[in-house]
């Protein structure tokens, strides 16, 4: 019963937050987006003030009255300083490097101090279990911009929606806690977690499990052919580490291989439910890319002709990430 109530409350709260601080690429913190309450330390401080007041009254001591009122006034003014420590700060999200489900994505967030104000001891984290998304404490001095990289552990594929970033400060007195939940549009993709399964190739027409025609370099026998200078894109396995260790520079081993052979990766050759298929397809694509095959992908919503390059890889992975996401299609 209580759980239901809490859920409903949470929903209403989220709706209210969405209206108040809508999703955006960049947010300047202001009255609508900053909340402030006293901390437990603040409550202890008020007990101290009360103690001082009683001492002052009972001992009729003007100086203790003075101390008490001074600290009280300072605590009241502290509210302004804590609030101001967030106000005027502009947060904007930058494109994060896509990653696979289960990995922690590094979300770069830019903090712009705004004019003539420094912001100290800002505590930032994506809300989750604390161990998962570690918090960062940063300060931005006036008229500067810094970039903070926040780790966020991903759980679902698709567009990266880390939820509301919590930005909190207790500066300067620690008696108040001012915070904001900022919904930043991070604009990045989470690919399905790859599952490594053996290929089932299919040709363009029917699936016979054979690789189709190799390029000139590929003669079929996967023997060592010689060394050649390293080229960007060569895999780890290809690099001749021994040569490098001898100081001969970065060279790659050239194999006779399937490199350049073209194949089709077909959705229909995959078993399992949609998500499993997506994961396995992801595994295939990565594997094919790694091995240097010319691979085509055929699956609902995508028929990509065999190719081997980064753009192709990204395109295919993006399709996997956004598979079934109606809003995502228009963007690809």
């Amino acid at each position: 019963m209580l759980g239901v109530f809490r859920q409903r409350f949470q929903r209403r709260l989220n709706g209210w937050l969405d209206r108040r601080i809508p999703l955006s690429r960049s947010v300047e913190l202001g009255h609508r987006s900053i909340f402030i309450v006293p901390t437990s330390t603040g409550l202890v401080f008020s007990v101290l003030l009360l103690l001082l007041l009683v001492t002052a009254i009972n001992y009729q001591n003007s100086l203790i009255y003075g101390v008490c009122f001074w600290l009280f006034s300072m605590a009241m003014g502290g509210m302004y300083f804590t609030f101001r420590n967030l106000k005027g700060l502009t947060l904007s999200a930058r494109e994060a490097v896509p990653c696979f489900v289960g990995e922690a994505v590094d979300i770069p967030v830019r903090l712009d101090s705004g004019p003539r104000r420094s912001h100290f001891a800002l505590w930032m984290a994506y809300p989750n279990d604390e161990d998962e998304n570690p918090a960062k404490v940063v300060s931005v001095t006036s008229e500067t911009e810094i970039e903070v990289t926040l780790a966020y552990r991903t759980h679902t594929r698709g567009r990266l929606r880390p939820g509301r970033l919590k930005l909190e400060t207790r500066f300067p007195l620690g008696l108040y806690r001012a915070w904001s939940y900022v919904d930043l549009e991070v604009g990045s993709l989470i690919y399905p977690a790859p599952e490594w399964t053996p290929y089932v190739f299919s040709t363009g027409k029917e699936s016979d499990g054979e690789l189709e025609g190799a390029t000139l370099d590929a003669t079929g026998d996967q023997d060592f052919r010689g060394l050649r200078p390293y080229q960007p894109g060569d895999s780890m396995k290809q690099i001749a580490w021994k040569q490098m260790a001898r100081g001969k520079g970065l060279v790659s081993k050239d194999f006779d291989s399937d490199q350049g052979a073209s194949c089709w990766l077909d959705w229909n050759n995959l078993a399992g439910d949609t998500e499993q298929r997506l994961q396995r397809m992801c595994g295939w694509i990565l594997q094919a890319h790694e091995e240097g095959l010319m691979y085509g992908v055929r699956m609902p919503g995508l028929e990509a002709a065999p190719e081997h390059n980064e753009v192709h890889l990204r395109r295919c992975l993006q399709h996997l990430a956004l598979f079934g996401d109606e809003t995502g299609e228009s963007n690809s």
Binding site: Y59, L63, G66, W70, G77, S139, R170, G174
Partner: protein, 674 residues
């Protein structure tokens, strides 16, 4: 658990040490030792040379600390022992301080210890010291937040402490003035067991002489009319000593028929000679207050005893401000009750037989009581009697020995002898202890009375006239009354004997004296306006300024203060700080972007100028060469050229300006065709 920032530790140590320092004067030396030990230990821990104390060590420390307090203070629960408890607690906390939470505890304890220090000392210097320490403690509080700022932490912490404390001053003043001063909520049993220098409820020969060695302040007086009273009128009655046991005169505590204000006798309102004054009295831990002539109770908590003593309901443990009146009418006129008469005639048997016999002789020769007293005074005046601070030791029957053998004595000797002789012949008499004289400050128009002004004189009952003041010292050493103790003791070096450095000894040196007087005036103003701002003073000040001093008005002032603060904070937050002025280059660049607006080409935050210009070039192919040139030029200017070059900057600006016009034209044309 949030770690304690490293810079915070230094601030915390400084804050605690400074808050503890004033307590060193009234705590046993063992605590100073403990503090040094703990601070040293903590410092080594900070440097990593000693480990943090384990659970066992902490427990032992707590137990030892409590035992130590119990032993040192012999289980007495006094203000000192309470402070000692807090001091020990804060030191032990310092030792185990590791997390930020512990830092807060230290900060709050420091604030409290600083305030507790004001229970003992409240001078101007202590006040200024307090301001400095509050600043340090506040900086320590701020530095607790600064986890990531490294070297700059101290600068930031001190800056914020300064700004916040200054910003708090207006509201603090409002609260200080308007917060209703309440009477103590409960009687504080927790009082300092410090012995005050001052009059006590008993007087053996020599007691008052010892006071004359002290230049401590007894009280300050201001008269409502600002007139300096004649010196010979400045008899400040303190306590009546009317019980004699053959050696010591005592204050009889069983006289408890006190009429408290407002039921006490009230002064005649329209008498020309009625003078009001205000006394700020230093703590004495006694009930009696000081009055000129016969006083009366003028405010709550003050009463008039049947013997004519003005008393405070509570012992004066804190500095007390009260009003008094010089009333020409003697309130205890009329007749003496038989009990009172008996009490003021009582003498122990068989002491001082020679004095008795001689007094009897004199009494028989005199016409009435007044004549008898005059005979005695004449005797003191004309025979070889000496006024001295260092009279010889007297054995038993000390009045006999003083009157007929040594003939040297201080005021207490003369007063005691006179009362003894009056009583022995049936005239009710009593010793009055108080102060005589004082130093008049003509600029601020107030009088300071110090311990060396302590004096004893007598009051003799004259039937039909009441108690009359008789000062035998005036007969022996008139200069004591006219000029003060120092003048009376010119020939002997006993004035302020134990105080070789007292500024009062150097009254002859002009600049020292004027400095002393300045300092005293400052202290006086401090006492009058800050320290003695209590319930009555608040009422009169607020009444004068705002014509009203009801609780309701005070509370509305307080509420007004808080509302004003919130308004000020709101306004400050609402005013948008102007964006920093864009550089000329940036302005031109924005113009260029605006010119391209019809092409619907938003720039996203990550774009460099090159990326945007190249996108623009795709839309406006005919401008490609110029746009590419500009992109190259911008890159050079932004990323390569380190030093300023006005000529080159001007060129670049011109380049953008020309291009802006072209782009605008082209963009409009394109927008029109689509």
């Amino acid at each position: 658990m949030t770690q304690l920032p490293r810079t915070a530790l230094l601030w915390l140590l400084a804050a605690l040490v400074l808050a503890l320092l004033p307590h060193a004067t009234h705590l046993p030396w063992g605590f100073v030792l403990l503090a040094l030990l703990v601070l040293g230990w903590r410092w080594l821990m900070h440097q990593g040379r000693l480990p943090y104390p384990g659970k066992v060590a902490k427990t032992i420390a707590v137990v030892l600390g409590c035992l130590g307090i119990a032993v040192v203070f012999k289980n007495q629960f006094s203000l000192e022992s309470a402070v000692a408890f807090f001091v020990t607690a804060s030191l032990l906390k310092l030792l185990e301080m590791k997390a930020r939470r512990d830092g807060y505890v230290i900060v709050f304890l420091s604030y409290f210890l600083l305030a507790a220090g004001f229970l003992f000392e409240q001078g101007v210097l202590q006040g200024l010291y307090g301001v400095a320490v509050i600043w340090v403690i506040t900086a320590a509080l701020v530095s607790l937040q600064l986890l990531d700022t490294g070297k700059n932490s101290s600068a930031i912490a001190s800056r914020y402490a300064t700004v916040m404390l200054l910003a708090a001053l207006p509201l603090m003043l409002v609260f200080y003035l308007f917060f209703p001063r309440l009477s103590p909520l409960w009687s504080m049993t927790l009082q300092s067991n410090k012995a005050y220098t001052g009059l006590s409820g008993e007087m053996s020969p020599g007691d008052i002489a010892s006071l004359s060695r002290s230049d401590e302040l007894a009280f300050r007086v201001t008269f409502d009319d600002g007139q300096q009273p004649a010196r010979k009128d400045l008899y400040w009655r303190g306590v009546i000593l009317d019980r004699y046991d053959g050696r010591t005169w005592r204050f009889s505590k069983h006289d408890r028929s006190v009429s408290w204000f407002p039921s006490a006798h009230s002064p005649h309102p329209n008498n020309q000679e009625t003078r009001y004054y205000e006394i700020i009295q230093e703590p004495t831990a006694e009930h009696w207050l000081f009055t000129m002539k016969h006083g009366t109770a003028l405010e709550r908590g003050v009463g008039l005893s049947s013997t004519g003593l003005v008393l405070s309901k509570r012992p004066v443990h804190q500095r007390k401000r009260y009003r008094g009146v010089v009333d020409p009418y003697n309130p205890v006129l009329g007749s003496l009750s038989s009990w009172q008469r008996g009490h003021n005639l009582a003498l122990p048997d068989n002491v001082n037989p020679r004095a008795r016999a001689w007094a009897q002789e004199q009494h028989q020769a005199s016409t009435d009581s007044m004549d008898f007293i005059h005979r005695l005074l004449n005797h003191f005046n004309q025979q070889q009697y000496f006024y001295t601070l260092s009279p010889p030791e007297l054995g038993s029957d000390d009045i006999d020995a003083f009157l007929f053998d040594s003939r040297r004595g201080f005021c207490a000797h003369y007063a005691g002898a006179l009362v003894f002789m009056a009583r022995s012949v049936g005239i009710p008499a009593r010793v009055v202890a108080g102060y005589q004289g004082g130093e008049w400050h003509s600029e601020e128009k107030y009088l300071t009375v110090r311990q060396f002004d302590a004096h004893a004189w007598t009051e003799i009952w004259i039937d039909g006239k009441g108690w009359a003041r008789v000062d035998p010292t005036a007969a022996v050493a008139p200069e004591r009354i006219e000029l003060g103790l120092e003048a009376a003791l010119q020939d002997e070096a006993s004035f302020l004997q134990d105080n070789p450095l007292s500024a009062h000894r150097f009254r002859g040196i002009d600049w020292i004296n004027s400095l002393r007087l300045k300092m005293d005036s400052l202290n006086y103003l401090w006492h009058r306006w800050v320290l003695s701002y209590d319930k009555d003073r608040q009422k009169s000040v607020l009444g004068n300024w705002f014509n009203s001093a009801s609780y309701k008005d005070m509370l509305s002032w307080l509420a007004g203060g808080i509302v004003a603060l919130f308004l000020a904070m709101g306004v400050l937050l609402l005013i948008r700080q102007p964006r920093h002025r864009a550089s000329p280059l940036l302005k031109r660049w924005h113009k260029l972007q605006q010119a391209a607006a019809p092409l619907n080409m938003p720039s996203s935050p990550g774009d460099t100028s090159r990326v945007w210009l190249m996108r623009l070039a795709e839309r406006l192919p005919e401008l490609r060469p110029s746009l590419t040139a500009l992109a190259n030029r911008m890159d050079e200017s932004l990323y390569i050229e380190a030093e300023q070059n006005a000529e080159r900057d001007a060129q670049l600006l011109k380049q953008i300006h020309v291009l802006t016009r072209l782009v605008r034209k082209q963009a409009r044309r394109q927008a029109a065709t689509h």
